[in-house]
Assembly symmetry: C2
Homo-oligomer: 149 residues x 2
């Protein structure tokens, strides 16, 4: 896990040939502090609370676009069809294994022991990610597991 000092973040931006701007630093810092992938809305909220005040909606989208484009961040869809953003360095640690999506509470659990198989694709197709999603009920929500209802 790298150090997420402002200087480190600025260096990351420079290394990615992207201009170092205050909004980008703030978004990076926010993402680096997040425990999990955040939606645009969640980021907007957190930025509004932090010092420096709110960030324009559209600017936030474009900052995120630039982070995606330079490879520092990635996005996935959550169960509602909303994009969630996270740092590539964090995501990398989750790429190899499967995830359990609880259909009741929406929680996500890592299944480290379930590893993604190699994709076998028809010619012309290009794979970027392979994701195994197991859906069902987690410990807390299954009648077997514990606190049902």
């Amino acid at each position: 896990m790298p150090e997420f000092t402002p200087d480190f973040l600025a260096a990351q931006l420079r290394a990615a040939s992207v201009k170092v701007t205050r909004p980008r630093l703030r978004v990076l810092a926010c993402l680096s502090r997040a425990a999990s992938a955040l939606t645009h809305g969640e980021l907007e909220e957190r930025l509004a609370e932090g010092e420096g005040g709110g960030l324009d909606r559209v600017t936030l989208y474009r900052v995120l676009d630039s982070l995606l484009e330079c490879g520092l961040a990635e996005r996935t869809l959550d169960a509602r069809g909303v994009y969630r953003f996270l740092l590539s360095s964090i995501r990398a640690a989750h790429a190899a294994h499967a995830h359990f999506h609880c259909q009741r509470c929406g929680g996500i659990t890592c299944l480290e022991q379930m590893v993604a198989p190699v994709a076998t694709l028809p010619t012309g197709f290009v794979a970027r990610q392979v994701e195994i999603e197991v859906r069902g009920l987690c410990v807390n929500c299954s009648p077997v597991g514990g606190a049902a209802r």
Copy 2:
């Protein structure tokens, strides 16, 4: 594969304790003819072309809701975050293998040869579905594959 005559479809609705209405029959028929999961927009188009004329946008959403609720249909998210609807009976045939989600056009392609592994879960967890999603660009959207741009 069951017979998709109007009578059969009506019987399915009755069996699911749902009123038999013209919109529901038309939507069911359309879904039963579809080769793959359709978006709301695609369904709307097809219904507008068929005899009986267009169906109200909202009505279509509510018809789909009722089909979801009674278990006749299911929905999944495509790579763009748009819902795609399909008959449960058809979906069952796709449960075992992986699917390719094109990140550009949202299209879904079956990867029959990629089979879902058995889920190994922590105790207390209950699995209902295991889904392997390969994301990337399909033949039509990848620069390698064909009609790029």
